[in-house]
């Protein structure tokens, strides 16, 4: 294998890993996070945008138990990294867990949640984006 081929493979792997790995959340820029590849069926996706002190996380598919566990683990990490946050606003495409479930699970991980708002995106209750 030539050095160029080796470099190409390294570059390809680097691109795939950058896309697949969670990106450290910055306090003033929007980030896209991806679940780690080690997580089986990481159906959640995940655009995280910071607006002032409020963080919005959007998860775009039905919240299965496994995905829910993933969400909880990610929230726990974020909360540990950013203890000054005053609220987390979590939007789930289809919510089959309650806010209390979510908060309880995070606290079970040893993370104190100061305020957690959970909102279900659903046509009729929240209104469509075009409304």
């Amino acid at each position: 294998m030539t050095p160029d081929e080796q470099l190409a493979i390294e570059t390809i792997n680097n691109i795939a890993e950058r896309r697949s790995s969670p990106i450290e959340m910055s306090s003033n820029t929007a980030n896209v996070i991806q679940p780690p590849t080690a997580v089986a069926t990481p159906t959640v996706a995940h655009r995280i945008a910071r607006k002032g002190k409020r963080i919005a996380l959007k998860f775009v598919r039905a919240c299965t138990r496994r995905i829910f566990s993933y969400i909880v683990s990610r929230l726990a990490v974020f909360a540990e990294q950013h203890p000054t946050w005053t609220s987390l606003k979590v939007q789930l495409g289809v919510l089959d867990v309650t806010m209390i479930d979510l908060q309880q699970q995070i606290e079970d991980l040893g993370v104190q949640v100061k305020e957690l708002q959970v909102r279900c995106i659903a046509i009729g209750s929240d209104g469509p984006p075009s409304a």
Binding site: I9, T11, I15, A16, R19, P42, T43, R47, P129
Partner: protein, 397 residues
């Protein structure tokens, strides 16, 4: 609803683009507003997910880096004001939206079902192996975020199951004929010559690209020089196919192995005149294409592992027998051998023999064409629209 349709823009307007146009037209008729969100291939960056790619590295596998750049750019497309997004060709499914319907006709196939065929003649097989792994690593979490898939055929649905473990949210979409404004051609066309009687040509309507394998059509026409043949289509391999057609006049085509003709994917330049019995046409008007279909003996669709086969549906709606290859993927779903067409080995010789068989047996050609016509009635846009509406309902519920 506001529906955003996402699509990579390759600067061509082929069969799939016409299919999307018809879907958009029907959605508008149903009262939805449509916006198109495209990423142009000419505007792709060589900084991908924050990784700068040197030109020397890029050139070792431009297909991968172009694809990864598409993923990067589609990930950044903001469709938050849309009520629903409808992604199409890969990797437009990289868009993030809670209500995501994918009109899914294929993966980026050289990294999936055509990976081995591609690697066999790719100069850097280890680089391609890394690219295959990387693309699947990129695609998997994105595909898992799609709310529902309308797979272009049973073959495509099987690929989603095999490569991504997706099946619960996958249903099959059977598009109708797209030629003639999406209406059944049978209802509009003027009286045609009967199949198998007087005819003007064997027809092949296909882009000249790697998996389309139009080299086999050129080879078949070289093997049967008494049969006039017309190829309609553009594509990156057109010059090579024309060169192969010309080169085959210098040898006995019956002794030529078809495999290397299309496996090689060499960028040949035509130097020898093409045979007198073959014409390669591009930019054919709808009226001209209608004429060609009406006066065809049969339609050859030589593709390898085709996703669906829009041309096949068109040909059947004209009552023309199809000749497809045994490794033609979804094309073989359309054809019942010796009932509605002929399924042959993927060689120029076998296709030539099938064409001759129809030319010499007008009654057989007529019967196969009639069966094909009956089969085509199962592929209507009204049915496709129902499948589309049901899928949208599932996404929105």
């Amino acid at each position: 609803m506001k529906i955003a349709i996402l699509k990579p823009d390759y600067g061509i307007h082929g069969g799939f683009e016409r299919l999307l146009d018809e879907i958009a037209r029907r959605l508008i008729t149903l009262g939805h507003s449509i916006s198109w969100r495209t990423v142009q291939s000419g505007h792709l960056s060589k900084s991908i997910f924050g990784t700068d790619v040197d030109e020397s590295v890029y050139s070792l596998h431009p297909e991968f880096f172009r694809y990864a750049s598409f993923v990067d750019q589609f990930s950044e497309v903001d469709c938050s004001r849309a009520d629903l997004v409808l992604s199409s060709q890969p990797p437009s499914f990289a868009v993030s939206h809670p209500r995501h319907l994918s009109i899914f006709y294929h993966h980026c196939r050289i990294f999936y079902d055509l990976a081995d065929e591609f690697a066999a003649h790719f100069p850097y097989p280890e680089v391609h192996a890394a690219a295959v792994t990387a693309v699947r690593q990129l695609d998997t979490p994105l595909l898992e975020c799609v709310t529902h898939f309308l797979a272009g055929s049973n073959d495509v649905a099987a690929r989603l199951r095999t490569y991504n473990g997706l099946s619960d949210n996958v249903t099959v979409f059977s598009a109708g004929s797209i030629f003639g404004g999406g209406q059944t051609v049978l209802e509009k066309r003027p009286p045609s010559r009967e199949s198998g009687g007087e005819f003007e040509q064997v027809l092949c309507v296909s882009r000249h690209e790697f998996p389309k394998r139009t080299e086999l059509f050129a080879h078949a026409m070289a093997c049967a020089p008494e049969l006039p043949g017309v190829s309609v289509g553009t594509g990156g391999q057109r010059d090579s196919v024309m060169a192969i057609s010309g080169n085959l006049t210098k040898t006995d085509p019956w002794t030529v192995n078809s495999g290397p003709l299309w496996h090689g994917r060499a960028n040949l330049v035509p130097t020898t005149p093409i045979p007198a019995n073959v014409r390669f046409l591009t930019n054919v008007s709808a009226r001209e294409l209608d004429y060609l279909y009406r006066n065809a003996l049969c339609v050859v669709a030589p593709s390898l592992k085709e996703d669906y086969g829009l041309t096949a549906v068109e040909a059947m709606s004209y009552g023309k027998p199809l000749i497809v290859c045994s490794d033609g993927g979804a094309l073989t779903e359309f054809v019942e051998h010796e009932v509605s067409g002929l399924i042959v080995e993927p060689t120029g010789q076998a296709i030539a023999e099938a064409c001759r068989r129809l030319a010499q047996n007008p009654d057989m050609a007529r019967q196969l064409g009639q069966a094909a016509l009956q089969k085509s009635l199962h592929y209507t846009w009204d049915q496709a629209e129902r499948q589309l509406v049901q899928a949208i309902d599932r996404v929105m519920s």
